[in-house]
Symmetry: D5
Subunit: 147 residues, 10 copies
């Protein structure tokens, strides 16, 4: 048994029972972004969170234990994603990568925007010309240290 | 001569003369994100914008023409970026890719978040535990059409 | 269970029962292109469409639910396809890629031809020197926005 | 000297002198698609065509000879294109690849759609919801022979 | 079930029952090259051919249907083959690739040698210094069309 | 200076002076296949052959020496060739690879067809349905030795 | 069933019963190098050899037949091996590759050292500073032929 | 300037002046294998060795300094070598890789054969059936340590 | 059965029974680093060590034998790791690779730091600004030998 | 001009003038590890540090400005390094990757060891059995945040 087996079981239960990620997040008490990532095998749950998720998706005791183990992260089957929705994000990194780098360095100096001390929030943005996806990313700036 | 030559000349002028992207954007009259991407060879300028940029970076008439040609986009030398700052963004796509996909589909149905009808805004977010990089992405949702 | 399992079941039923894609499309009431892509795990069906497809291919209730979930798209096992028919299309993109780019930009300016707001129509074109495959592609032009 | 040098010289002359592909095609007397591909180093010109193209772009006698040599074809720098406009075409092959294969085989049997005995026509399709790019591809069907 | 399953079953029956490809080809009434390729999942059989092959290898009715479906072609597990016999052919393409290209173009002009309207014949060539493998390839020349 | 520089000089002289490979081979006194490969930097010439080739293409004394050095072989810029003519040969290896392997082993047992003790002959094959490229390959069979 | 299944069965029997390759080679009557390669699915056994190997590892009649079939060779899961012992050999090829090429050509002229008419012998070489692995490789030199 | 520049200069001098590696090694006083690798940019020379090599190939004082710097090793342009002579060595690692691993472990236990405390000796082995290349490799066995 | 099966069984037992690597190491009597690597299929255990590990994780007699076989090493599914924690180590090699090389060569001359005669020790380093991971690596320096 | 040009100039000056990294670090007043990485184009210097480095290596005013610009990091030419010294470090990540992950998570929970708030110290460790390279790595632990 592995975390992947649990993730597949969660996805199957979600599809067959029509469970929404928003409803899972509400019960877990965290954002829908973190909660979904955790259910998809990218984050680590506490025993309490695993119990809530286990009840929602019908997981047994062993499966709940796997949810509490730090997973081997990386959710995509290929280095360049083939799915069009995910590819557009890869395209942003590819087209705007040097721009992102230049502007963060201009404001903060040498360092990175953390992907660990990080949060993401996605919302529908109503727009008469067609609704938009609005995503707010917030990552702590970590400066390179000299030593 | 090619657009890459112009991009390299812009970068060299920026470094040697200490020009900031924010100041360029202010003169162009557009966001610092779009302006920087354009100067880095990813976007197409109008004749007026090219004249402003050309004055700032000391470009001749031919070089200004290249700025008005649609470039072959893609700013990274490898499919998986080696630079740590840019890699963190690739890591976000890799770790959160399926999460992003699930949540956009849950809210909007099948389709994508456009990387063309798109904007990005980066700001410093003051925080007593360490300042953060706050990025707002906004992309039009484009639903798959049946036919 | 996953969408791939449903796709394989559809393909097996198609082969063993001699079902044509044209007949499926007629019953679904959409083009044969969209319908085939949906049956091959690339598009999302409504409940009504899933019921029709389910009846044709003998799918049970759970399998019909998977047809209504947005799939992870990408139908090819390798980045460069090995199958000769599909490779010829890859070759078109490779040989004519810069031509396509030049001509769309010459007519429309910077932007892309959408692969989402898109349709495709394939027909036999009778020709005394050997019949031809005629394909009409239609994609909305999406201009890059400045911001 | 190589064909690539001639292609770069053509592109530079085009940008600096504002030459349109449509005007080149008109003078050559062939479609804008074939003519552009030829100028971009993908097709072979006759001596007469090379003379016309040479006059337009200011090529000398040696450069005109290179236009008449069969080039090493393939116009993209990477196996998966990074440019968003060209990527959308790669995405079509990736998402619709198996669909294209199924439908051509359903109509014609085993074989391929030729990329050699082939033509392409791109046009603007006016549409009140946003103009579209309409592309007609026509390739001879070539059946696999038994022997 | 898939065509691969049928191919594996054919290979197993061949090994365990000591069937030769030459004998299969004789019964099918076509060359040993085409017949072997078909049995290995690369070509499409008619109902009559599938019945003959099915009798030889003990295939049931469903498996015989799969033989009549156009397969997803490509018989090698890696882009550069690791098997020494097959690698030598890849090496020929790699070392002689540009030579083949030059000589076909010198004789025929721009175009390709078809891999579809194509035949191959392999024979033992007796030689006192060691027997040789003699292979005759014959492919229709397909010229690029202007349009 | 390197062998590549000599190859490029040969190609340039060939294009600008309209030299045919057949005429070079006739003067060298070997097949057009071997001679072309040698001129393209894949084979090693003797001093006499280098003198003949040097006279034809206008090479100086140093360049003639490079022709007599064993080159680093491999004539293609990518592992999977993008040029359509050369790709068709790669496709033959990919589609027919396992067939070639099976039939050589059926006739000869375990071993390979040599790509070193090897010859190739290309000819035009007149055909009322369209002329064909006929290629005869002959390679010594080399059996695996036990020890 | 496939040759891989037989290889896995041999490995499992070896581990569980503590069989040494040296003892297998002694019974087969050939070198330990060839015998091990054959048991690992890289060489082809005669019926007599297969019977001996089958008795040692407890293979049934069908499995012994697979040992007599020429295998698809290549024993490594990745193009660059990850296992440190095997990697050191890859490193030798990488670091000394051009040296090996230069010295064989200096002694023999253009051609290769055969990997088919080849033998390998590994022995412990006692050394007070630490025992060494001594490997003797012997491959027939095969000169390129002109034609 | 870099070590690669010095290597290219050495190769050019070798070709134009007809210098043999054996003669260089004799003057340096080390094996032809180590000496050739050093001249090809893979090993580090002492000041005395660099002086000898510099005299042979006509290197100036700066170039001799580069010979004394530890180079970035790796002599091949691609991960899988395209040159047939070098490929045969890669093929040995690929086909015999698991055999080499099994036999060294059987004799020595877990560890590696060093590629650093290592020597190689190549000789012509006269043989009436065709001369052979005989290579003796000797590498210290390094056992994995527990800790 | 293979070593991978044993590794998976160990991981499952660890998760379901809440076993810590530190406790395993204490019972084995070696460092936690070596012990964990061994349990994860990267090192070879003695019979005594395998008995201890087998008791802890509930392995049967056959599984304990696999622990004593030298494994095919390499613990990551992709050449560039996707997991963020492991990626940071890859990033260190990528960013500091040339620095590490320069400094070891400056101190020791040409050679390597052994990854075989090697040990690693990880400890928590308390720090008021946030605890740190402190890792001490110790590898024997192995100088390149001349011969 | 680019940072790479400056790095190459520094390396050339170092080789030709025999400058040691230790002496540079002493003048800069930081560790030899950070200083070397900065000189090799991986870190960003202040104006004061750039002045010191510029004096040592003879850099002009423009080159000193490039040292103060955040570089595009990544010091290796291939994803898997070919140089043996650097490869051993890649091997450590490959063989010990999952071990490192397990032990850091066992001690700290989910998160990473920072490669930004990080230091490295290399020292010679005298040892009668052969001196060792001792490296101390220290990186802040960064826990994944929930949100």
């Amino acid at each position: 048994m592995s975390r992947n087996d649990v993730t597949e079981k969660i996805m199957t239960a979600k599809v067959l029972n029509g469970i929404s990620w928003a409803s899972v997040a509400e019960k877990v008490g965290l954002s829908k972004e973190w909660t979904t990532a955790a259910c998809l095998g990218q984050m680590t749950l506490t025993a309490e969170q695993a119990a809530i998720v286990g009840d929602i998706f019908g997981l047994d005791a062993d499966e709940r234990k796997w949810l509490q183990v730090v997973p081997y992260k990386g959710s995509l089957p290929t280095a360049v994603p083939t799915d069009p929705l995910i590819y557009r994000w890869y395209e942003l990194v590819n087209v705007y990568g040097t721009t992102i780098k230049e502007l963060i360095h201009e404001e903060f100096g040498d360092g990175i925007m953390s992907a660990i001390d990080f949060s993401m929030d996605m919302q529908r943005q109503n727009d008469p010309k067609g609704d938009r996806v609005r995503v707010v990313l917030s990552g702590k700036f970590l400066p390179y240290k000299t030593y």
